[in-house]
Amino acid sequence: MRSAVFLITLLFMFPVMAEPPQGYPFQSFDDAMQQARTEGKPLFVYFGRYGCGYCEKTNKEAFSDKQVREAYSQHYVLAYVDAESGKRLRLPSGERVTEREVGTRYNAFVTPVFTFMTPEGEELLRLVGVQRIEDLREADIKVQGLMSKQGAS
């Protein structure tokens, strides 16, 4: 019984399908855009897809890091886009599009793609493919630096 509970717990901790990593407050792209504008925080957009192996690898090997989780949860409004999904959302322009179309517009031609954006939706940095813990930490430092510069100017 105990091992069954453990197995179920593991399944919930590491979902088989590529989804946003556990323990992060990911939300839909339009909700995240709105929150980013309200709070003046940069966006971190995760473009994934169902069954994406490189997403799963990045989730397990990089997003599982405690420091990464703390930094990304504090510094960014987090959005997850399933680049093959027909789920509809509203862009800041008012246009209603599917998540797949958001992936097309932001050129998520592979998955995962991670895009850091200003609250206005301007791209700051883009990471393509599998990321390691150090890649995510470096990107965070770089984007925070860019945001500080923008704030100072």
Partner: protein, 407 residues
């Protein structure tokens, strides 16, 4: 993108000098709707990408836009020999409406199916008259695909069945401009174990074929099933259409992505399925196709890449396909090989896919995407697409007539 240009140059140098003339000469594009401007967004989207059709001496285009703040369905038509579109008609009702699927019936009649407030709606229209709207009973239904069958219509769609989308089909009887839904069924006899989405449907008269996106394999694959009992709505068990690519070294994930299958009937009871396929994961989606093979164990045959080697270095989106009774077959998509999105065609030529052809008037500055195509009985190609100056800018719906010049 410089990398792509270098590779393209190398490929050009290595490729044999084999130049085929394109079958169609395209007229200058014309606007389908005069209603456009800031904050108006048009979408040419439907499951199976059927947004243009030819009936009698008219061509019609159906789209969704939000000119009054709510996404609604509109249709514009023109006589084939007229230069401009006229007679723009609002098709949908008061709710939020999306993804109109359009087919031609005879006598300048058109049938449309669309999603409105999470239900599938249908109606017939002529240049002068609008038939009554019918609404199918299925709840949380979306992504409709329409086709002619016998003297009536068939509509395939995805409806929520508990946790998952379930692809279903329903026959629709046509009487003048009136429609009457018949009894439908699921296209997979087994209960859904995962999402079934974005169906496309064709009828061969004595057989009906439906293809769709399916997530039962742990990643998205294309599946199809066939009914050869068109009287009682029964389908055989579904089969996989998109190849299973096995990577024994892969530790994570279940497989590559595919998206948005389109079907077209051509020649004597032939059917082609075409879709976006990410098996070459470095270059994004490519266009792949497979032919229906009646009487064989596998419903669809070998997967074949449609776009040429130049296109293999860029990413492709929004696959659509059209065929005619003479066996002509053409696939269209949009393609970012030149940094911006252009409309590209490839056609079947001596049993092989032609070199890619970037459509003049639907390429160059700005973004040209979301193509939809139809062949008329003379083999002319009718093309509509979305034009925008920038990726998120306001849109226009444009149309170009491709006159058949090389048979």
């Amino acid at each position: 993108m410089k990398r792509i240009s270098v590779w393209a140059g190398i490929l050009l140098a290595l490729s044999p000098l084999c130049i085929h003339a394109e079958p169609w000469a395209f007229d200058e594009p014309v606007a389908v709707t005069s209603t456009h401007g800031e904050k108006i967004f048009h979408h040419l989207e439907s499951s199976g990408r059927r947004n243009i059709a030819i009936s009698g001496d008219t061509v019609a285009v159906a789209w969704e836009d939000d000119r009054d703040g709510t996404p609604r369905i509109y249709l514009a038509h023109k006589r084939l020999d007229d230069e401009a579109f006229a007679g723009e008609i609002r098709i949908s009702g008061p709710g939020e409406a999306y993804e109109p699927s359009l087919v031609a019936l005879g006598d300048n009649r058109y049938a449309l199916a669309w999603e409105e407030d999470a239900k599938i709606h249908l109606r017939l229209v002529t240049p002068d008259k609008l038939g009554p709207v019918i609404m199918l009973e299925a709840e949380e239904a979306m992504q409709s695909s329409l086709t002619r069958h016998d003297q009536g219509l068939l509509v395939a769609f995805s409806r929520r069945d508990g946790r998952y989308g379930l692809v279903s089909m329903q026959p629709i009887r046509v009487d003048g401009l009136a429609l009457q839904p018949g009894s439908g069924c699921a296209v997979d006899p087994e209960p859904a174990r995962a999402e079934q989405l974005y169906p496309a449907i064709v009828s061969l008269g004595d057989r009906i074929i439906v293809a769709w996106e399916d997530r039962r394999a742990g990643h998205t694959i294309i599946m199809a099933s066939q009914s050869d009992n068109t009287k009682s709505c029964q389908f055989h068990g579904p089969q996989r259409v998109s190849d299973e690519i096995i990577d024994r070294t892969a530790v994570y994930g279940k497989g590559h992505g595919v998206a948005r299958v389109a079907l077209a009937r051509y020649g004597d009871s032939k059917v082609l399925a075409a879709w976006a396929d990410k098996r070459d994961f470095r270059a994004g989606y490519d266009i792949y196709s497979a032919d229906y093979q009646p009487g064989k164990k596998q419903l669809f045959g070998t997967n074949v890449r449609v776009q040429d080697d130049f296109g293999g270095l860029a990413e492709q989106w929004h696959t659509t396909v059209a065929g005619d009774d003479s066996g002509r077959l053409v696939v269209a998509w949009d393609d970012r090989r030149d940094d911006n999105a252009d409309i590209v065609l490839s056609w079947l030529e001596d049993g092989q896919w032609s070199d890619d052809f970037v459509v003049p008037g639907a390429s160059g500055t700005g973004e040209q995407n979301h193509p939809t195509i139809s062949l008329d009985s003379s083999g002319n190609l009718h093309l509509a697409w979305i034009q925008r100056k920038s990726v998120n800018g306001p849109t226009q719906v444009l149309y170009a007539f491709g006159r058949l010049i090389n048979k």
